[in-house]
């Protein structure tokens, strides 16, 4: 330690503090500006194409007639199916791993693998989906095959989020329940899950948002480029928002880039609605916890 530090310790610390604060503000502003520029660009480009007709028309080779109906319906279907498949599976796995499974080598092995799976590139899930669901199980290029592939993709995320949420429930709650003679099942269903619900929900919604925006696995399993009908069941062929947007954006005509921008706005609104629903549900769920 040299003497100068002892002389003016407050000064130096305050300077560091100001410097760090400045950095933090600068970086936040930077990312915000990028976001605003991106969203602003998309809104300016796409706004003129945004109308009720855009939502209720099928794709077309003429930009002014092109609509997003089949892609929107495809994405709705996909999200519904993914939700039904991945949420029960994910939460059940998390409960088993946290509450029932004895901690040991096997459990650690599973844990590491799930964490690894969460980091696997999405195209790999597309290849698995193509080999297993499309070809082996003969699901063809259907919504169900797409939903199963997407579910595989987001399951690790849901499991990890749900496990964290369950682990965060204080041990006393469980012990209290056991002391009163509750079984493990009763403890989990009446106490642990309600307490963990907000955290689980956040994980689920984040995972669903990711599934909504993913393109690579869907292209891999062969979701289609031109679809001019609304799927009527889980075995129907389909297209989805990101694929439709990709198709428009890659067309040479400039008008189609504006149509693509309009598609992006729809996708963003969809995401925003999903996330707001999450915030609201989370708020409601956390209000109900009373110990």
């Amino acid at each position: 330690m040299n003497n100068s530090q002892w002389k003016n310790p407050g000064d130096r610390r305050a300077r560091k503090e100001r410097l760090f604060k400045g950095c933090a503000i600068g970086l936040t502003t930077f990312s915000l500006v990028i976001l605003v520029v991106l969203v602003g660009h998309v809104v300016v480009a796409g706004f003129s194409y945004l109308s009720l007709d855009f939502l209720t028309s099928f794709p077309s080779r003429f930009a002014h007639k092109a609509g997003i109906k089949s892609a929107l319906a495809g994405s709705f279907w996909l999200m519904g199916l993914v939700f039904l498949i991945s949420v029960p599976l994910g939460i059940a796995s998390a409960i088993y791993l946290e509450e029932y499974n004895r901690k040991g080598k096997l459990s650690r092995f599973i844990e590491i693998n799930i964490a690894n799976l969460a980091g696997v590139p999405s195209i790999v899930y597309g290849i698995i989906g193509l080999a297993v669901f499309v070809r082996f199980f003969h699901l063809q290029r259907s919504l169900l095959a797409g939903a199963l592939t997407m579910s595989l993709l987001i399951l690790p995320v849901i499991i990890i989020a749900a496990r964290e949420a369950i682990r965060a429930v204080p041990k006393n709650i469980r012990l209290g329940a056991y002391a009163l003679g509750a079984t493990r099942w009763q403890t989990v269903i009446h106490h642990v899950l309600p307490a963990a619900a907000p955290g689980i929900l956040t994980g689920v919604i984040l995972a669903m948002s990711r599934a909504l925006g993913e393109t690579a696995p869907l292209i891999m399993i062969g979701a289609l480029t031109y679809v001019a009908f609304v799927p009527a069941g889980p075995m129907d062929p389909f297209t989805a928002l990101p694929i439709q947007i990709f198709n428009w954006a890659s067309r040479p005509q400039a008008e189609f880039h504006e149509v693509a921008a309009a598609g992006i706005i729809v996708l963003l609104i969809f995401l925003l609605v999903l996330n707001s629903a999450a915030v609201w549900l989370r708020h409601r769920a956390s209000k109900k916890i009373r110990w």
Binding site: F58, R61, W77, G80, Y226, P231, P237
Partner: protein, 332 residues
Amino acid sequence: MKRLFITGLSLAGFLILTACGNSANNKSISSLTGTVKVDGSSTVFPITEAVAEEFGKIYPKVRVTVGISGTGGGFKKYVIGETDINDASRPIKGSEIKKATENGIEFIELPIAFDGLSVVVNRANNWVDQLTVAELNLIWKAGSHVQQWSDIRPEWPSKPIHLFGPGTDSGTFDYFTEAINGKAQSCRSDFSKSEDDNVLVQGIAGDRYALGFFGFAYYQENTDKLKVVPIDGGKGPVAPSVTTINDGSYQPLSRPIFIYVKPESAKREEVRTFVNFYLDHAPELVGEVGYVALPTEAYDHDRLRFKDVKTGSLFSGKETIGLKIEDILKAG
């Protein structure tokens, strides 16, 4: 938690219901139902898309799907029976016929338009006025040493040449390499590839030192962004245009493009109706999206071949350059 779960379930249910409800407001003109699955070449895609869109106005209940996987990628699906129709920008290959036969899958080969494979450069490129076939070969042959424009002609700029071309699953790639390098798929590999021609257009339009090739329609759509290079096949430089493609003077890069229909699928009324609609409306739609329509006689032959379920290929592995398409069809 229970209520939460129910909320979630009903949310999912609502999503599904709204998705279903959308189909109610279709106008019904013909009550024909069914599905027609098409996949394959991105070169042929604009034609099939246009046909599918027009078809949907009259037969709204027939569900036509069109994918883009490249001619080869499309045939991979076709030969295992996953699709009804394959868009192809080159004739089916011997190896693909073999695979199809192994799986008991046949095909009716129907030429539907002419394409003049177009070699293009950036709009700001002011030095290239024409290229000979020999120069194209010099640029594109396997192991080519051309790295700069000046490697082609010394008076051209000493700037690196950026090459763009369709991916190896593409029929356009097969045709180009066969016509220019003498053997399909024999080509240098250090160029930017995409199965989607639009990506190539964007790449070349944004790069002054770029050179690439793709189907005529994609040039037609982008004449304001790209400059087409006249090709000298031995009889002086010729630029691709409706006239030069039609009269056969744009050589050796003019070629017919096809759809391949599975006879098994053609037994279904919706597929049969779609293919006949395709052949009836091809002459007008082919021109609209930027290709060159075949002579009327050729479409008549197509209709007959389709009606009589004539399977097998007249074009596969044969030298058809310089032959009139209606004569080839008549001979078959």
